[in-house]
């Protein structure tokens, strides 16, 4: 316990005298995987929190050194398994950057469509699990969860007909994409988007007109603009705190520069602001996919011939860093190549990891019930945190 108190960064004063140290996780209904929060409680109030991670470490960066550039994208998707398309994109983007490989226009658009669909799917899961954290698996939260999962399934159906897989796709390859759109996919995609757009209104009506939802989220877990910038949070957390920073506009990749990406920003910095940002991102993603489908150019989907052997992609000596705006924020990939068919060294930057660092700053002073609401609003995926 003494160790816990020393390691926590923020601690508030409290009148009581008896403290209780409680482990929340790694096995816990709201652990979002395997997160362990060591809470120091005085009554119901959390006075200090120590975040312990590492339970899902799978040596992803070391693994990258043993697999060729052709093999690794399907492994990369396992770092952030909730938005596999995005991490695959980050990996192939850095390989193309270092190897100076062109990507055909059609492939860039396909990547954009998949990335935005993936954002929709990922936010669906976030909405469901977050509400389940607040509302319980045996309450209204489960209702929202099942609705959101129903919509996520529609997107996964699209991915399945595109790649044959529902969770980890292997859609991207160095120089382009592996699959082109099957016949009728575009029509199906548009139908799915209209369904989801309609359901979003239903969710908003169900949640925002609900006084209990508002009192649980408004003013809870406020991240000030200064804190957000100094801790280095990314994605919806940063935009929920009033910083209009989105890599899709700040450093466009994969043809994002040709689109008019509107970046939603909220200034309150609380759980509700993060919720609003993500709901706006849902609609923005839907709009982007529609625009991309409208302007989808014809042409090849890859600048490289089909895969014949796993070692056929060789990257000249050099290093580089690619950044992608994932569903949770900046996904970065740093590659050092030595001229062979495998990376010399690969480093992942996960948005969940940097976002988690804000927890010890905002949790103390809240009640236990708020801890799970704040955790859920951060939307961590532990595959990405521990890698």
């Amino acid at each position: 316990m003494a160790d816990t108190l020393q390691r926590s960064t923020v601690e508030i004063g409290y009148g009581g005298s008896e403290r209780l140290t409680m482990n929340m996780g790694p096995q816990h209904p709201s652990a979002h995987g395997v997160f362990r929060a060591v809470l120091t409680l005085e009554g119901e109030t959390v006075v200090a929190v120590d975040a312990v991670i590492g339970y899902l470490h799978r040596c992803h960066e070391k693994l990258a050194e043993t697999l060729t550039y052709v093999q690794y994208p399907s492994i990369a998707s396992k770092t952030d398994y909730v938005s596999a398309m995005t991490v695959e994109l980050a990996y192939v983007a850095v390989v193309e950057l270092v190897g100076k490989i062109d990507v055909p226009k059609r492939a860039q658009y396909l990547r954009l469509i998949c990335a935005e669909l993936q954002r929709i799917a990922s936010h669906c899961l976030w909405l469901g699990t977050w509400c389940m954290d607040m509302g319980g698996a045996l309450g209204g939260g489960a209702t929202i969860f099942l609705y959101a999962i129903r919509e996520r399934e529609l997107v996964l159906d699209l991915f399945e007909s595109l790649t044959g897989a529902r969770l980890l796709y292997g859609f991207h390859q160095v120089g382009g994409t592996r699959y082109d759109l099957p016949a009728g996919w575009e029509q199906k995609c548009r139908e799915t988007l209209s369904v989801i757009e309609q359901r979003l209104d239903e969710y908003e009506a169900m949640l925002e007109d609900n006084a209990f939802f508002l009192v649980r989220t408004q003013g809870v877990g406020v991240i000030s603009r200064e804190l957000a910038e100094s801790v280095g949070v990314a994605g919806p957390l940063l935009r929920g705190s009033g910083v209009a920073y989105d890599l899709r506009t700040a450093a466009p990749y994969s043809s994002y520069g040709e689109f008019d990406v509107r970046v939603p920003v909220e200034t309150a910095g609380d759980c509700y602001a993060r919720y609003r940002v993500r709901m706006a991102e849902f609609r923005e993603s839907i709009r982007l996919v529609r625009t991309a489908l409208d302007g989808l150019p014809e042409g090849p989907i890859s600048s490289r011939p089909g895969v014949k052997s796993v070692g056929q992609v060789r990257i000249p000596k050099g290093e580089g860093y690619s950044r992608i705006e994932g569903a949770r924020g900046e996904v970065g990939c740093y590659l050092v190549a030595d001229g062979g068919a495998k990376p010399y060294r690969l480093k992942w930057r996960g948005a969940s990891f940097s976002n988690l660092a804000v927890l010890p700053h905002i949790i103390p002073g809240h009640k236990i019930a708020d801890v799970v609401a704040i955790m859920g609003s951060v939307d961590p995926v532990f595959g990405e945190v521990d890698r």
Partner: protein, 330 residues
């Protein structure tokens, strides 16, 4: 041949006990089916036609499960808690008449007995939370004491509005008084009291949005986190029995109990009563599956700042009304 009173009551009590247990079993299925429809699912389906045997399968499973006692638990308190919890939850049916003359005992202080006994469940709850020697369970027990003490007062005040209007604590007398007009239709006072009763019921039954003592996303399962097998089943049984009991009381106090077309026949009356109670139960279930849980401080604030003053004012208004106009008679 007439039975001695004790034997007669024992037999009726035995029947009522079994009816209650049977009802609990099938009310769980009703709730699961209802929730499933709300969530665009089907619900239990495979055990028996349309899942009708699912509750029995669940009960059998719980009976066969290994009974685990944590080594650090306070064995006596831990083992006694489910029984201490269950007894008051079942006992509330003792004064509840299901139809005229159909019940264990129609006491002249029936409502008072019901309310007093139903608030005893907190003892078992606290014993379970304390005896488990688990931090989640302890926190849950603390919350339980907070919440149930806060909500028993508005619950009692709301339930006493019909009592004041009737001028009797006897359940059958309250139903008889509603022959002309159900108390839920009683101008202003009746509707407000009914709403207050429903809210207080949710809290007293520990249902979402007031289920902070179970709160499985924070406290895993709250006070029953360490219970398994038959002990868990007993706690579950008690919880649902309490829920059905308060639904019946609500139907009796506000919806006219067994009154309805053909209610002269006891069985038809009992059927009406059951339907009305299930209506209340489904409203409670509907709320449960559409709201998120609120925080402990917010729950207490709602009780002490809003519900308690409101119900006190309501009760005083009803009393004033009766003082001026005399008790409500059918």
């Amino acid at each position: 041949m007439t039975l001695p009173p004790l034997a007669y009551h024992a037999i009726v009590g035995f029947i009522v006990l079994n009816v209650v247990v049977g009802m609990v079993t099938y009310v769980t299925l009703l709730e699961r089916k209802f929730a499933a429809r709300m969530q665009s699912r089907i619900g239990p389906y495979y055990v028996g036609p349309h899942g009708l045997l699912q509750p029995i399968a669940d009960a059998l499973k719980l009976m066969l499960k290994e009974d685990i006692v944590p080594t650090s638990a306070d064995r006596w308190i831990y083992n006694l808690a489910p029984i201490v919890f269950l007894v008051p939850c079942i006992l509330i049916f003792a004064t509840l008449p299901f139809a005229p003359g159909l019940g264990v005992a129609d006491l002249n202080i029936g409502v008072l007995f019901f309310l007093a006994v139903s608030s005893l469940e907190i003892v078992g709850l606290f014993m379970g939370g304390w005896g488990s020697n688990n931090k989640y369970a302890l926190l849950s027990a603390m919350r339980a004491v907070n919440q149930i003490i806060s909500y028993d007062l508005p619950f009692v005040f709301a339930a006493f509005v019909p009592v004041v209007l009737t001028g009797s604590l006897q359940m059958s007398a309250i139903v008889d008084a509603q022959r002309g007009l159900w108390f839920v239709a009683y101008p202003v006072i009746g509707q407000l009291a009914f709403v207050a009763y429903l809210v207080a019921t949710l809290a007293a039954e520990n249902r979402v949005p007031f289920d902070i003592l179970e709160a499985e996303s924070e406290l895993v399962a709250g006070f029953r986190v360490e219970y398994s097998g038959m002990k868990f089943a007993l706690i579950q049984l008690g919880e649902y029995a309490h829920m059905i009991g308060t639904s019946f009381l609500g139907a009796l106090l506000f919806l006219g109990g067994w009154l309805g077309p053909g209610a002269e026949t006891p069985l038809v009356g009992a059927l009406w009563f059951l339907l009305k109670a299930m209506l209340i139960f489904l409203v409670v279930t509907w709320v449960r599956w559409s709201f998120v849980r609120i925080r402990v401080d917010q729950i207490l604030a709602i009780s002490w700042k809003l519900l308690l003053p409101a119900t006190v004012v309501l009760l005083l208004a009803a009393a004033g009304w009766v003082a001026v106009r005399g008790p409500h008679v059918a």
